[in-house]
Structures are given as C-alpha cells and as structure tokens.
C-alpha cells in the first residue's frame, strides 16, 4: 500500500483515539470532583494537564488550574494542538486525503463527528455542563471503530488503523498511570487513596474489568499491574502492544511464529516492539513499585515513542537511501 495512504490512516486513527482518551480523562475528573472540597480542585486539575504533556503550553494560556480553564484548554483552545476539536479536525483531514481508501460509512461517521464538534454551542456547553458533549465524542469514536471493523477490508490499511489506535492508547494509559500513581502514593491508605485509584481505573474505562479479575482490595500495586500487564483488557499496555505487534507483523508480511524463526528478516518496529512486549511479559511488578514506578514508566514511554519513529521511517518515509547518507525525518505529525 502507498506510504502516504498508510501514514494518513495511521494518524487518522491516532487522532480519533486521542480525542476519545482526552475526553474520557476529563469526564472522569469532572465526575470525581463534584464531591471534592474546593481547595482540592487546583491540585486535582493540574495532573490532567500533566497527562497530556502540555503543561508549558497551558501555563502560557491560563493562570490557574480549574474546571473551566482545563476543559476549555483540552476541548477547544486553538493554541492547544492536542485539543479534542483539533484532534477531530486532523483525523478528518487525514481521512479526507485518503477518502477513497476508507469506506463511505467511515467517512460519513467521521464527518458527522467533525460537524458536531465544530458546531457545538460552547456557551451552552459551559452552562449546562459538558457531559452530553463528552458522551457524543466517546460514542462517535466507538462508532467509528465499530464501523471500521465492520465495513473496511481487513487488509494492510485496516492494520495501520489498528496500529495507530494501539500506539496512541498505550501512550495515554501509561501517562495516566504515571500521573495518578504518583498522586495515590502520596496518600496514606484510606478512603481518599481508594477514591483516587477508582478515578485512575475509570480514566482507562478499567474499573469494572479490574474488579472482575477477582482483586478484592484496591491497592496501587495491583492496579498498576493490571493496567500495565493485563493481556485481555483492551486498554492495558500489554494488550495494546501485543496487538500493535500483531498488526506490524501482518503489515510486514511476516506472521507471528515465522517472525521468531527468521529474525534476520525483521524490521525495526518489529524488533523494538517485540522487545518491549518481552520485557513486560517477564516483568516482576515488585521491581517497579513506589518510587521506581515513574522512572520505569518514563523509560517505557520513551521506548514506545521511538517505536513510533521507527514505524514512520520503515513504512511512511520509504525513500531511496544513497550510500553515505543517513535517514533523517521521523514522525511528521503532531506527536
């Protein structure tokens, strides 16, 4: 498949996922802060921006952290390239450039989501609370994924869409875990710590799934283990990266077991993401608890970002490499 087309599909999918993730994190916090004391608000909203990694940009726009500013920044501030509205527009722009490669249903759905976001009455949303808007975006994203699975040929293009989604999702789960885990760790065990763990799980739609694993106690180590290593929950990092590897193998034309048998034929994304998966598979969670969590997650995030660069170099920037010249460009779109 054409590199340009693969690139657009991959980023279309990442942007939709990003919009959904940011929306979900916002929703959960809105909810949890309804019964929190006012002075706690500042402390509660600041980490949300930390999750998106846009703190510097936020401080350029706003003085203080509160519900109104943070939601505005994350939803539609034009100076925030990761704002939900921007993500949806960029997803649509990418889809538009490969309009003929995706199904009409996918295009129609994304188009509808775009107009919904664009035409939203912002004053009304501020007055009546943004729940309905949040819901529409999340349902829009789910519908998009369902429609994609049911109306598009499951070929290379589909795998690039899956890959983009999984890369973005693993990134967001790690960031959420990083920020929230640190917050919980500052608290002594008690109702407040449990509350924070629930918020963390809900931010990843993982509360019920976690409960079903039989974990009777809400304990930070257990939660971290679940969000990092679970192989069955679709937002757990382990699940995401394994799925991403499956897509990369399929795109590369070398299926799973063959890949292990012919290591010399592996491309960089396969190697790198395979190594991360193996590291997670053999990880002892005790080794990374408490103060070791942040450095570990930081390192993991960095490695996943490097995989992103490898994907770009291997699949999107196909070019003639003349002897004596090194490859340069990496991810072109907004990380």
């Amino acid at each position: 498949m054409l590199s340009r087309v693969a690139d657009a599909l991959y980023w279309m999918s990442r942007y939709v996922e990003r919009a959904e993730d940011i929306t979900r994190i916002l929703t959960v916090n809105f909810h949890s802060l309804l019964d929190a004391p006012v002075e706690a608000a500042e402390a509660a909203w600041q980490p949300i921006i930390a999750i998106t990694g846009d703190e510097e940009r936020y401080r350029q726009c706003y003085q203080e952290y509160n519900a109104r500013n943070v939601s505005e920044f994350l939803l539609w501030n034009p100076h925030n390239p990761n704002a939900v509205t921007t993500c949806i527009s960029l997803a649509r722009e990418n889809a538009r450039s490969v309009r003929e490669q995706i199904s009409s249903e996918m295009w129609e759905n994304l188009n509808r989501l775009y107009f919904l976001v664009r035409d939203l009455d912002r004053d009304e949303a501020r007055r009546s609370g943004p729940y309905e808007f949040f819901d529409q975006i999340r349902y829009g994203s789910w519908a998009f994924q369902g429609i994609t699975a049911e109306t598009m040929t499951h070929g290379d293009g589909y795998e690039f869409i899956q890959l983009g989604k999984m890369m973005e999702r693993s990134d967001k789960t790690i960031r959420t875990l990083d920020v929230k885990y640190a917050a919980v760790n500052q608290l002594t065990e008690g109702p407040e710590a449990s509350l924070q763990l629930i918020v963390l799980l809900r931010s990843c739609s993982a509360f019920e799934a976690f409960r079903k694993t039989g974990a009777s106690v809400l304990q930070s180590g257990r939660v971290a283990q679940f969000l990092l290593l679970d192989q069955e929950f679709p937002r757990a990092v382990g699940f995401c990266l394994n799925r991403a590897l499956r897509s990369i193998n399929s795109i590369s034309g070398i299926a799973g077991s063959d890949a292990v048998r012919q290591p010399h034929q592996l491309n960089n994304p396969q190697r790198q993401i395979g190594r991360i998966c193996a590291d997670l598979d053999y990880l002892n969670i005790e080794e990374i608890l408490d103060h070791r969590m942040h450095p570990f997650l930081d390192g993991l995030l960095l490695r996943i970002n490097l995989v992103g660069d490898d994907i770009t170099r291997t699949f999107f920037n196909t070019q003639v490499i003349l002897p004596g010249r090194s490859q340069q460009p990496a991810q072109q779109q907004q990380q």
């Binding site: 054409l2 450039s97 034309g253 196909t318």
Partner: protein, 488 residues
C-alpha cells in the same frame, strides 16, 4: 398551433420555441425528428409528478455518490457543487456517429503526426505551411520534448474534442483538448443515472453502451508502455484532493483498478520511477497524469511545484516511463494552431478533412486583425492560452468597456488572440425549474490513441443551462445530458 394544444405533452404546454437554431429534438413546431419519436411519446405519457419524482431521485443519487466538482473564486476556498444533470437524453443516429467517428479518428491521427513532426524534423514549418513563430511562440510548446520518441509515436493518448452544430445541423470542431481533457466520469455516471431513471426507454432504443470506457482507457495505457513490456504497472497521477476534478481521478482509478498517486508518492531513482509503498519502492511504467506540464517536474519546469516529481522528465527522456498524455501536447490545441488543423490533415494524411473547423481569424495576421477589430461586437474573441470559458469576449453580449479592453489586449499581444463568428449552437430541449426550453449544447467525445484509435460511442453533452447562454462549461453554470448513440 392552438389546435394542437391538446396533443402536446404537459412538458410542452408553455409552447416550446425552436427559435432560429438547429433543434436536436424537433424538426419544426412540435414534430420530433424520427430518432426522437419514442422518447417524445414516453415524455408525453408521463405525468408531471412522475417526471419530477424521477428527476429528484437522480439528483439525490448524484449527491450521495459525491459526484461533484469544485468551483474556485477569489474570496472562497472552493465550493463543492453537483454537476447539474438533465433527464432528457441527447440522441445521435448511427450514421451520424459513423461520420463523427471517421472525422475524429482522422483528426487525432493527424494531430499526433503533427506533434511528432514539430518535436522532430519540423517539416511542416520548413515547408512553410505554418509560420515558425506560431509554434515556437505557443505557450505549451516544450523544447524539452525535441528528439524524444514516445512509444508508438503517440503523444496525445486521450483527446476530448469539442463539437458543435451550426444552424444547418452541420457538425463543426470548436476546439481540441490534447492535454488532460476532463468530464468523462460524468459521461459514465449520466448513463447510470438514466438507466436507473428511465429503464423502459432503453428497451425502445438500441443504445450503444459506453460503460467499457475505463477498460478501453486501461488497454490504451498498457499498449503504450515502454519497451512493449507485457504487464506494465499503470498509475494515475493526481494533483490531489483540492483539484476540481479529483472526483473523476478517483473514479477512473477505481474503475481501472489502478493506484491513484500524488507527486509525493513517486520517486525517481537512476532514471526509473517508483511508488513509495509500505513494503518499499515499486516500479511504475505508465503514468496517466492529470497534472499540467508546468507542475509535473520541479527540476525541469515550475521549480515551486509541490505537485510533481523531481527527475520525472529525465526518466521519461530515458524511455523508462510513459506519460499519457506526453509533455508538450498543448501546442496542438493552441487556439491559433487550431486554425491550421485542416491544413495539418491535408499535409500529413493527404486527405480532405472530414470534420470542419469553425472559421477562425488570427489576430497575428494583419488583415485578420483589422477585421477582428472592426467587428468586435459580432465576433467571439478568445485568448489562445485560456480554457474553461475564461478569457473570452462574446461580442454580441459585450459592453463597450469590455470591447475596449480586448481591443487593447489584442494590440499588445496579437499572437494571443483569435476570433470566430458567433456560431448559433444547436439547442436541445432541457427541463429546468418546471419548464422545458431549448438550451445550447455541445458534444465532447473522448478519443483514445494507443495501438489503435478507439472512441467509446457518444461522449459528454454539455448544456448551457442559463437561458440564452452560450457557455457550456461546468465552471460557468453548465450542466450535462446523457448521450445516446443508436446501434441502428
């Protein structure tokens, strides 16, 4: 006329006027030409409601399928519009089509010989039939093409010649389009729409199919691959999603089952062209390009072009890739060169032209220029470099200020202007806003030249929808009709 009122179909109740034009449907008063009789009867028996309903369905189908084009103006970034479609088909009897087919084949064959000549020996100039300044001063003459041998010596693989009919019903060639004529997707979609809307009518006529155009196009493109290779890779090169004909590009690529690529998808290495794919570089042999010469290779032409492919011209010169159409074909559809096409036919084929030109005055000739300047109010003046109905002065509908502007333009650059008498284009009954009236029409058949010349029966009939308007271009408020060539 009043005695016949009860026999008139409701469509004609507002007394359809033939006027001082050749009417495609009616011979006189309300008597249809013989080949229009079945459709006339059908329309007569159809209620207004039923007709309106079918029309509505056709419009919706076009909208849903995204059969649109984009109009650009100065303030706007571009508006997407449906190309208006008229439900009453234009019908061409088979002997008329045979004549057109012979005429077009002759014309396109001669034009390809002409292109080969001016990019090689230039016999036609040396023998004094065409003044050198006309060729070398043409905007689309490309000296980079001199000495290049395109496969099978074909330069213009896809040609759209615009035909009109004068007051006597005689077909004339208004202009040839040898660069990248567009509109063929409308020809195909119009037929689909008609089949859905009036399935019964097709049973009363033996309409020759046109659905195989994409296959014919692919066969043509494959037949001109470099080195006669048996299984060439063909791609369609588009300027991208913002191009007004992007819909057509994707449509044709899908129908042919070939990849649609943008300039940035292609890379030239060692004089070979490749597409960048997720599994590395894949060689390309034939490029059906819908990008103008100026933008196709920033190394050779417009250096600022983001649309083209660096090094493409070199790969082409090396004979490793075929461009359809070739670079530099525009010199043969230059409106001043057009005036010489009858001479060109006689020169290369030693035959008399089957299809006639519209009489044309060249402003570069002293006596012609004098005539043009004296008759600005009755002639149609055209800039030789513009297309799409831009850069035109329709004398009979012009203001004094417009005439003065053109007078000045012609004085400054006579090479750039030609003039033609106003042709009373034939009209065809067209249904608009609840009434039927005669609209001027033209016909653009699509001629394919590869191993052989192929013309899919019919073409695109464009309609000047605005009452009294002579301009049929889609960007100037034109619409289109399905065009039926009859098998017997």
């Amino acid at each position: 006329m009043n005695q016949q009122a009860d026999k008139r179909p409701w469509l004609l109740e507002n007394s359809y006027e033939i006027g001082d034009f050749f009417d495609e449907m009616f011979a006189g008063d309300s008597n249809p030409h013989r080949h229009y009789e079945p459709i006339y009867e059908q329309l007569r028996d159809l209620s207004r409601e039923s007709f309106e309903e079918r029309r509505r369905q056709a419009d919706i189908a076009f909208l849903y399928q995204g059969i649109t084009f984009t109009v650009y103006n100065k303030e706007d970034e571009g508006i997407e519009r449906i190309f208006p479609f008229d439900l009453i088909p234009r019908i061409i009897p088979h002997q008329e089509w045979d004549f057109l087919e012979r005429g077009l084949t002759q014309r396109v064959t001669a034009l390809n010989l002409f292109l080969h000549d001016i990019y090689h020996e230039q016999r036609i100039i040396r023998e004094g039939l065409i003044p050198p300044e006309l060729i070398f001063g043409a905007k689309h003459f490309r000296r980079e093409m001199i000495g290049i041998h395109p496969p099978r010596n074909v330069y213009a693989h896809i040609v759209g010649s615009d035909l009109v009919r004068d007051r006597n019903g005689e077909y004339l060639v208004l202009e040839d389009n040898l660069r990248s004529p567009s509109g063929v997707s409308y020809m195909l979609e119009n037929r689909q729409a008609m089949k859905r809307t009036f399935p019964n009518l097709f049973q009363k006529y033996e309409v020759r199919p046109n659905e195989h155009y994409p296959q014919e196009l692919l066969a043509t493109l494959r037949s001109v691959a470099p080195h006669d290779m048996p299984d060439p890779t063909v791609v369609l090169l588009t300027p991208g999603i913002y191009n007004s004909a992007y819909f057509e590009h994707t449509f044709l690529a899908r129908q042919m089952g070939i990849e649609i690529v943008e300039g940035r998808d292609l890379v030239v290495h060692d004089n070979h062209v490749y597409t960048r794919t997720t599994r590395g570089l894949k060689p390309v042999d034939v490029i059906y390009r819908r990008i103008d010469d100026e933008f196709i290779d920033p190394l050779s032409f417009n250096h600022d072009s983001m649309l083209g492919v660096s090094g493409l011209l070199n790969a082409y010169r090396a004979g490793n890739v075929t461009l359809a159409n070739a670079i530099g074909t525009g010199v043969a559809d230059d409106k001043a060169v057009y005036a010489f096409v009858p001479e060109i036919i006689r020169f290369y084929l030693s035959e008399e032209p089957i299809l006639q030109n519209v009489p044309t005055y060249l402003a570069m000739r002293d006596e012609d220029r004098k005539y043009i300047l004296d008759h600005l109010d009755s002639l149609v003046v055209k800039s030789v470099n513009e297309s799409g109905g831009y850069g035109m002065l329709v004398g009979t509908q012009s203001t004094q200020a417009e005439r003065d502007r053109f007078r000045e333009l012609i004085r400054i650059a006579p090479r750039n202007f030609i003039a033609q008498p106003t042709v009373s284009l034939s009209r065809h009954p067209t249904y608009q806003d609840g009434e039927l009236y005669g609209c001027h029409v033209d016909l653009r058949p699509y001629i394919l030249c590869g191993e052989e010349v192929r013309i899919v029966p019919g073409g695109l009939t464009r309609v000047a929808l605005r009452k009294g308007s002579l301009v049929v271009n889609s960007s100037q408020g034109g619409g289109s009709k399905d065009t039926w060539v009859l098998g017997k």
